[in-house]
C-alpha cells in the first residue's frame, strides 16, 4: 500500500454533496433547516458597508485645516442628506461666506482636524446569496449562511474558468474523442450545458455563448485557444471571476484530450437534467476544482453521512489509476506492482514508482507522484 500524491477527481453517479453558502460579511439567514431550495432561492442577505465619500473641506474652502475649527456644522455620527451644509467659513468682515454641502446621503464617520477631511459613509449596499444547487438546507450558520445538501451525480473537473451557472445537460459529441467543433454547437443552445469530447476552440466557445449556452464541458483545450478566448494569459491558478458569458470546465487538462469514458458516459446518462456548474479553480493544498452537480429528482436529501472531501487515496494492487504526466499522460490502467524501494527513473532522480498495466496489455513504470487514483 502507499499514498498517491494527487487525489483523484470525483466522478460519481450517486454522491451526497454539501455546499456551504456563506455571506462575505455577517448578515441574515432567510431559510430554516429542512427547507427545500432551488438554485435561485435566496438563502441569506447582508448589508455591505457603503463607500466612504471623503470631503476635503479645507481644500474646497481654500483655508488651512486649523481655520476650520468651530466652523464644521456636523458631528461624527450625524446623518446627513445630499445638499446639507457641512461647513461654513466667513471671509473678511463677515462679507464672503464659503460653504461646503454634502455630496451624498450618509453618516459622518470621521472628521480629522489635521487634514480638514470629513468622511461620509454612504448607505449600505444589500447583497444576497442563492442556494446554487437544488437541495435541502442541512445546517444554518447563524448570521453567515447555510449548508445545502443534495444527492445526485457529481463530477469534478481539473480546471475551469467562469463562475456558478445553471442549465440542462446536452450532449454535443457522440464520443469522448470528438472535438466540440463550431458545427457541433446547436443553433439554439439556450440554457444548455454543452458536453463535448476531446477539446473545444475559441470559435465554438463564442458560437456556444451566442446560442445561449450556460457552460461547456470538454476533455481539454489548448493553451493557445484558451488565451485567444479569454484575451489574456492566466497567471496564477485561481479562477472563477472571469468576465465571460459561459463557464468552461476541462475534465482532463490542457491539450486535445479525450474525456475519460466514465465521465463522458455519466454525463450522457444525465442528458436533459438540470445541473449546477462552477468553473472556479484554486490549485493549492485543499484544492478547489470545478464541478458539475446534477441533483437527482425527488432525492434531494438522505441520511447518509456527509461526503468526505477529496483526500489522498490509498494505492494498492488492482487500484485503477491514470497517468497525469508525460510521457504516459492520460493512460488509464491498474496497479500491478508497488515496489517499496525507490527506483532510478530516466531523469536520474530516485523516486518511488508503481507499475501499471494499461489498455494494450503493456506494463509501464510511472513515478507515484505522476498518477491519480480513478475514483469509483
Amino acid at each position: 500500500m502507499g499514498t498517491a500524491y494527487t487525489p483523484g477527481l470525483k466522478v460519481s453517479a450517486d454522491a451526497t454533496i454539501e455546499k456551504i453558502r456563506r455571506l462575505p460579511v455577517k448578515g441574515e439567514v432567510l431559510v430554516d433547516v429542512g427547507a427545500t431550495v432551488s438554485p435561485d432561492t435566496v438563502v441569506a442577505r447582508a448589508l455591505l458597508p457603503g463607500d466612504i465619500e471623503i470631503v476635503r473641506l479645507a481644500d474646497r474652502m481654500g483655508v488651512d485645516p486649523d481655520e476650520l475649527t468651530g466652523n464644521v456644522r456636523v458631528r461624527v455620527g450625524d446623518e446627513v442628506r445630499k445638499g446639507d451644509l457641512l461647513a461654513e467659513v466667513r471671509g473678511f468682515f463677515g462679507l464672503f461666506k464659503s460653504q461646503v454641502a454634502s455630496p451624498c446621503d450618509g453618516r459622518v464617520e470621521y472628521y480629522t482636524e489635521v487634514t480638514g477631511h470629513l468622511g461620509i459613509r454612504k448607505p449600505p449596499v444589500p447583497i444576497e446569496i442563492n442556494a446554487y444547487v437544488a437541495g435541502v438546507v442541512r445546517e444554518v450558520i447563524a448570521g453567515e449562511g447555510v449548508v445545502v445538501r443534495t444527492r445526485g451525480a457529481f463530477i469534478q473537473g481539473i480546471f475551469g474558468v467562469g463562475g456558478e451557472r445553471q442549465g440542462r445537460i446536452r450532449m454535443s459529441c457522440g464520443s469522448p474523442g470528438e472535438e466540440l467543433s463550431p458545427d457541433r454547437v446547436p443553433a439554439d443552445a439556450r440554457g444548455a450545458i454543452l458536453v463535448g469530447g476531446s477539446s473545444v476552440g475559441p470559435e465554438a466557445l463564442k458560437r456556444a455563448a451566442a446560442a445561449g449556452a450556460r457552460a461547456v464541458v470538454v476533455g481539454g483545450i489548448t493553451d493557445r485557444d484558451l488565451r485567444e478566448y479569454l484575451g489574456y494569459d492566466i497567471g496564477i491558478a485561481i479562477t472563477g471571476d472571469e468576465n465571460i458569458p459561459l463557464t468552461l470546465i476541462l475534465t482532463e487538462g490542457f491539450g486535445r484530450m479525450p474525456m475519460a469514458r466514465r465521465t463522458f458516459e455519466l454525463l450522457r446518462s444525465q442528458e436533459g437534467k438540470a445541473a449546477s456548474v462552477n468553473g472556479a479553480t484554486q490549485i493549492r493544498a485543499g484544492a478547489m476544482r470545478p464541478e458539475i452537480i446534477v441533483p437527482a429528482e425527488g432525492a434531494r436529501d438522505d441520511d447518509r453521512a456527509a461526503p468526505e472531501g477529496a483526500g489522498a487515496g490509498t494505492l494498492g494492487i488492482g487500484t485503477p489509476v491514470r497517468a497525469i504526466r508525460e510521457p504516459y499522460f492520460g493512460q488509464i490502467g491498474e496497479v500491478v506492482e508497488l515496489p517499496p524501494q525507490p527506483v532510478r527513473i530516466p531523469t536520474g532522480a530516485v523516486v518511488r514508482v508503481l507499475r501499471m498495466r494499461i489498455g494494450d496489455g503493456r506494463v509501464i513504470e510511472v513515478p507515484r507522484a505522476n498518477v491519480e487514483i480513478v475514483e469509483l
Binding site: I52, E109, V114, I324, P327, P346, T347, V351, P367
Partner: protein, 614 residues
Amino acid sequence: MHQGRERGEPPPDPEKLKVVLATDCGSTTTKAVLFELRPEGWRQTFRGEAPTTVEKPFEDVTIGARNAISEVEELSGRRILDQSVSDGLAFVRPAGGKDGIDLYVSTSSAGGGLQMMVTGVVRTMTAESAERAALGAGAIVMDVLSVDDGRRPHERIRKIRHLRPDIVLLSGGVDGGTRQHIVELAETLLAADPKPRFGRTLKLPIIYAGNRDAAEDVRKLLEGRFGFQQVPNIRPVLERENLGPARAAIHEVFLSHVMSHAPGYDKVMAASPVDIMSTPHAVGVMAELAAKRRGIDLMAVDIGGATTDVFSVCKGIFNRTVSANLGMSYSVSNVLAEAGIENICRWLPFRADPDAIRGSLRNKMIRPTTIPQDMRDLIVEQAVAREALRLALSHHKSLAVGLKGVQQERTIADAFEQNATGASLIDMMAVGMIIGSGGVLSHAPDRKSAALMLLDSFEPQGVTELCVDSIFMMPHLGVFGSVHPGAAQEIFERDCLVCLGTSICPVSGRIRPGTPVLKYEISGGAKAAGTVAAGELVRIELPVGERARVVLEPLGRSVDVGAGRGRRLEIEAKGGHAGIVFDARGRPLALPDDPDERAAANARWMEALGIATG
C-alpha cells in the same frame, strides 16, 4: 507571549539537548527532521514529510505534522509521539536511549504564509522602508500604499477592500515632520475597512510605525475599529532606518493573532516552548548567521511551488524579498506570463514547439505535485526555474538598496564614483556564496545542473561558492538556532549545505568570443593549468570535501576575476559536485540570437559541465 511559556514551560537549556525534532509546515508539505547529538557532534539524522493539512477537509495542521513525524519514527525506529494523546502533538520526553525527544520546534508558511499590506508617504522612501520591514519579518507584501502611488483615493479604497491581509503596517513621515499625509493614509484605511483573513470577529491588527507626532491623530481614527499598536518610527529621520521594532511587532502579532487563528496552530504552540517562526524568517536567521561566521556577502534563494524568496546579506545588511507569484507549480503559469515563452525556450539545448511547452507547463500548474519523468521534461522545468530565479533576483536587487532621498556628504574620491542614493546593495562581485534551495535546485537529479541554473540566473562574478540546501533544512535550523546557535551552525555546515563547487567568472568589457581571457593554474586537490576563452564554460573536477589552490591571471587589462581589472588572484577553491567552473560567457550573459545557434550553445555548455542534454 507564547502559549508554551504561558503554560509555564521554561525555555530549554541548550546544553542539555540531545535529540531535537523540528517541523516546517509549508503551504504544500510538512517536513519533519530530527537533529541528534552524536559522538562526532550535532547531525541531522532522519526526515519525513506529509501533505500539509491546514485546509479543508482536515483543517488541523497537526494531522500533517503527525504524519510527517510518524515517517521519522518509522525511519529512525525512535518512538517520538506520545500515542496516548490522539489530538494535537504530545511527545515522549525527554530523550532516553532509542526513544523520545528533548525539544520540539516549528516554523510555518502554511495557509499562504503571513500576508501584509504596508503604507508609507513616499513610495521610494518610507513606503520602501515599510516594505523592507515586512519582508524581513517573513511576510508576503500584498500591496504597498503611498500618497504618490499614482492611484486616486477611491481606487486605493477599492483595492484595499479586496485584500484580506493578516496585518497592516502603517508608516510614513519622519518624526516631527508633517502629519497630514499619514493621517490621510489612516483615513483611507478607515474608509476601506479591510477585514482580516482569519477570525471573522478579530479586529484587523494595525502596527503604526510612522511619524510619532501623528500617532495620536491616527490612534483616534483607527482605535476601536482596528487592533491598533504603536512602535517607534521605521524612518525616524531620512538618513536612518529603524526596522527592528516594527519587525519584532510583526512577529509578535503573527504569533498572537495570525498563528493562533490558523487551524490547529494552538496545538503546535502548546507543544513547543519556542515561538513558531515564519519559514522565511527562519531562513533569514540562518543566512545571517552563515554570512557573519564566514565574513562574506551571501545570497540564498528558495524557489518553491508558489513563491520564490531571495535573501541577501550584503555589506552587513540583511534583506529579503518574496516574489509571491513566481514558483514551479501553482505559479508556474505566472512565470510563463511574466517571462514569456521565448525567454523560457532560450535555455533549451534543443528546438521545441513553444505551444507544446506552454501546454505542458499548464498541465504542471493544474497537477502541481507531478515530477518530470524524462530528460526533456526535466530540462524544460529547469528552463522555467532559470527564468523564475532571474526575475526574483531582479526584484530583490530593486528592493535591496541603500536609503533613497538621503543627502550624502561627498569626498573628492566619491565625486569620481558618482553613486546615486538608492543604489543596489547587491554587488555580485562581492557575493562570496550563493545557496539555492527548493525542489528544482535541491533535488536536481544531477547536481551539476543545479550549479548551471545558478550560474545562468544569478550570473555570479569573480569567485563564488555555489551550494544547495540538501533537503531544505534552513527553516528548521533557523528556529533551532534561536535556542542553540552553535548546534544549528554545526548541522548547517555538515548536513545542510551541499557544495556544488566554486565558480570563477571573469568580467570584462566586450571581448570577441574565442579570445583568451584568463590563465589558470590549479594545485592541491586537483592539478590542471590552461586558459579560458570568452564564451566558454570550463569544468575542472574537484570532488566534494577537496580543496585546491588556484592562481588566476587575467589576460587583458579590462578583465577582472575579483582582485580588480587586470590583477592576478590566488584563491583556495572548494570542491563540489560540479568542481571548479570557469564561466567566461560574459556579464550580462548574452545568448546567441539565432535559435539554432542558441540551442547549440546551450548544449555545448551543458556538455562542458557533463550534463545530459535530453
